[in-house]
Assembly symmetry: D3
Homo-oligomer: 188 residues x 6
């Protein structure tokens, strides 16, 4: 029987175990620099269950991030996974913001300059970012503990959603002039 | 022995079961309208494990939200819980934005006008908002499936963190003039 | 390909994410009083994953309960979810019984009269009930942290199962005359 | 430092791993018949985290049940664990009742006579029972997938709670004369 | 519609709840001694979700192990479940080895002679074994908290995999002469 | 109050959130090659919750592995975590062995030569290894989805436990001469 990819279950269908091979646990190409020739000067390459079928149910995915000098991975969050980041090359300014919760101090920024070989942790669902503060390209590898952690780039989700969020809402939420909001919405 | 509140374990210490009473599973005051006399015209009142000790380990917390006419609960996310919202009084425009993930369509806005008795769901970690679009005050009750779901109000976390996020980062991420960013950072 | 509803997986099949819309996260009608014209004088209306497909995997379901004066939601338990209840209108006597476990005190009743705006918690799997002790109809909203929490109404499960439980067993377990048990079994 | 047993965390404090020994994973005495000289003619002996400290966090507990001829383990449920039962000696009539849920058929009794070497499963939170239908004593071993599954014996929780449930509530819920209920409450 | 067994989802497809019967929660034959007429003098009989469909999602499986005098259940581990073992007949020498982790003491052997009625616990993923040290056949029952816990018999996985592990690797890892390794690989 | 490190709870005590700083989410030194001047020619450096307190409850830990030419990370398993490995430098032969389970094919070896930038997955609890098959030193980074995954090096756990496993057991299990086993036990 043919089960087309248009049928969805939670996670993924499993392959017949007898037909599973080593390639189902494998991906390649993580040594190739990503193309950072874009406005942010950064590139995110993800290996998750869509690329490694054997990750199904295992709760892991891997990401390579390239940063041109001054390259930025802009503020974003992962709705379904915590993240651990290691700097392979270069220097990064990284940070995340704790939740509003008073007991946590309220929107505290935890920030650090990382050099090659340094490691940092971003707890699940919190907004975080990385900026290349070195003079050369930088590379980081991160792992998330979900086979499908999702990513919400804050500015895109807020100002670039499809359809757009009502501009009055955004003007008030961000204390911005409505014209600026509408201008932003055209940009994103 | 005295265990001061400055000692933290995951979750909470449990009371001696023999000393637990009905009041440990109880909270009151959810019929009192919250004070919406503030810039957003909304008020969020949370009952979580800090108010109901018996919620410890049970994975639930309850929220009452009051909205003045045109009151806004601005875009925010909960890092550790999904949410179900029911409108008790009035009419709300609600929405959430899916993650960037291409397979999900990429930053899609799911939005709906809700009237009294309507119910809506916000999946874990996604940015969402509610706006009172009726002429009268509105009230909603929501429940999250965590005893401590956290809340990240996007504009506050981005522009109002302590210490502030580098304004260059925000200017680039949000495609805003740096002066506007610094102005925003003073406001939040 | 046609996947008939007679195919079951754990939870539910997921819709094609590209075809999902706001209505998949929406339900209406929770403002309509339930019909309490029945022997218990109460009515339970549930919104779970069967009504809101978007609840799939999110671990939440919502319930509206209406109580006529003196209306009773008889002792029951939810095998797969804890519950948080808020009184929207009226006054309820509520209670749950802890498990036999000696360390818990052994079958302790935790009980409380709740008024409008009060909140109470029923831990997973424990027997609980609510009785309208006011002179007017009452309404409560509850949320359970499961998309399919199940409900076991004790008297129905014990005396009204299909097929019936051996009446000797019930007579001994409940210290009732066997004729009374058989009479109960006819009623349920 | 002395940490008295009056301090409670979720689960249990862990022993210093360096002081843990084989006896922390061990219990004995499961070959001794329990004393079934009681009204139900059955005896339940539990080995959980309170007896085997090494079970902490492992999600397992073990139970030996002895049944005199005609001995009954009366209808009960476990709020926090599913159960698998194996008959070591004798013959048991066992059963459980599914939840009210229409899709499940509604309060269906799943019942079976088990002989030595037979195995049966009771899903989490559902009401179940075992009756010795052989002429000789019977023994069963069951395991639950929780280090502290709890047990709610239905009749005791309903008619024998401390303090008692309002007898009006029980009379209505069980369609019993109030005098019978109050009589039952004296018995339990 | 026909869903052939060659279609795999995580866990198992569920039967139509209306067609489920008591036999879906039942297995028999655990009173029959296993055939221990083999080199190890032991036999393992497993009842998991493949034999009891009703175990699907419940996180339990049951095992009967028979040991001839001097019978050995050789060192193995279960990748997806902790185990609790009860001795039904006879005397067993059992043991497990903690992980290398220094804080745990490093490869500590926790070992014990068990007699009839004794209980022991093997934490998830750790290598363990049982040896019949009595003069008569022995029987143990164990339960794992997974519907599909898996089993890795160490010697078979190491020296008997298909295809074989490079013999240089094994010679170095086990500090064995390469010829001995290759000889072992022929045996397994 | 002073809570000495000799008090253990599951996971770790949490720091007072108000005293938490960025350094609690940080570790350094992952750019320094490990010392591979040892019999296996490999070195494993782990960053887990013991080094990064902020990992507490987040379910992640990170490992750097250095391999001299021909360096071997010998067969081992992690009892509490799946692993994803990325090759930063060099070429590795990697493999894992599936469990005995017939439906899985029975002790199948999944093996692959990985080059720089390649990624491989080792499912929880299964035995796996890596061998440097290049002419130069190699480096890999791996992440496990547990804050304390544990590691069982097979040969050490089997032949080097403290106290040693009975040599008869090992001789039979590994089909080795008892003298060879005892010799191995002296080596490990």
């Amino acid at each position: 029987m043919f089960l087309p990819s248009a049928v969805f279950v939670n996670g993924k269908f499993c392959k017949n175990p007898k037909l599973v091979g080593a390639d189902d646990f494998f991906a390649s190409g993580f040594n190739s620099p990503g193309n950072t020739n874009n406005p942010f000067g950064s590139n995110v390459e993800t290996v998750d269950v869509n690329k490694i079928p054997g990750l199904n149910t295992l709760g892991l995915s891997l990401v390579r991030i390239d940063y041109a000098p001054n390259g930025l991975n802009p503020p974003h969050s992962h709705p379904r996974g915590s993240e651990i980041l290691a700097v392979a090359v270069g220097s990064l300014l990284v940070g995340f913001v704790s939740s509003n919760n008073q007991v946590d101090g309220g929107n505290r920024l935890f920030t650090k300059v990382l050099n090659q070989g340094d490691v940092f942790v971003f707890p699940i669902g919190l907004i975080h970012f990385e900026l290349n503060v070195g003079r050369t390209p930088a590379v980081a590898f991160t792992v998330l503990n979900s086979q499908n952690p999702g990513i919400t780039t804050i500015a895109n989700a807020v100002f670039g959603s499809d359809p757009p969020i009502n501009s009055d809402i955004l003007a008030r939420a961000f204390k911005l002039d409505k014209k600026i909001v509408e201008n932003l919405q055209r940009k994103f």
